[in-house]
Subunit: 110 residues, 2 copies
DNA sequence: AATCAATATCGTAATATTGCAATATTAAAA
DNA sequence: TTTTAATATTGCAATATTACGATATTGATT
């Protein structure tokens, strides 16, 4: 066990992990893609797009919102959710950065 | 319950969710960043970089490998892992695409 | 062959996630 | 005001994840 073994994770590592975890279920990826395809905020038929019951979809939406991937809220019987562009931007930038750094590296053995 | 409620997820949705899930823990993000920083395949001191015991790190490596984010293997007491560039490329492309499509859309209410 | 160093696997406990039926909440409509 | 439509919350069972001590495996070294 090395000397750095008690260190915690960086803020970036925690942020990326949190966003990635939120996208770590196909239903939540499908929700993001649906919000993208609708190009509007009010979209009360998300449930119809998924092979899941309404409470389950509601839970997935909650997770996406907690992670900051979507924003908005509900007023009565009208839902108003949309993608939080900043979260997508963070992920886009993060993976583009890794990709760029990989491209600069020397060839690997595996 | 709509007519499309029994559909499954697309291949893309399943792939992205699987990769995202693998990155859904800060330890695994830290492993990826460490592999990137080392710029070499043989890197037997991953355990020293993380606040986790060796079996736990081994499990995280296994998850990353199962998801296709890293490749390589072990020969005796030598570890040989590195980032699978294709997986990073998939994520980079996916989020860049979403970002681009978001930029084209009309302003939202939330 | 016996030992060593490094990593994987097993077993297990604690915690988290997933999914849904039942119920609650909310604002609009009748 | 009662009803209705849409979404959230609760409660609970099943499953998955996380973490680690103990042990196994593996290939090199002595």
């Amino acid at each position: 066990m090395g000397a750095t073994n008690t260190l915690h994770y960086t803020e970036t590592q925690k942020t990326v992990a949190s966003l990635a975890k939120a996208l770590g279920h196909p239903a939540r990826v499908a929700i993001i893609e649906y919000l993208l395809s609708v190009d509007a905020c009010i979209c009360g038929d998300i449930v119809d797009e998924l092979p899941l019951a309404q409470p389950t979809v509601s839970q997935h939406l909650k997770q996406l919102k907690n992670a900051g991937l979507i924003k908005g809220n509900v007023e009565g019987n009208a839902i108003c959710y949309c993608i939080d562009e900043q979260a997508i931007e963070k992920l886009k930038t993060y993976f583009a950065n890794i990709s760029g750094r990989l491209a600069e590296q020397s060839p690997k053995c595996c």
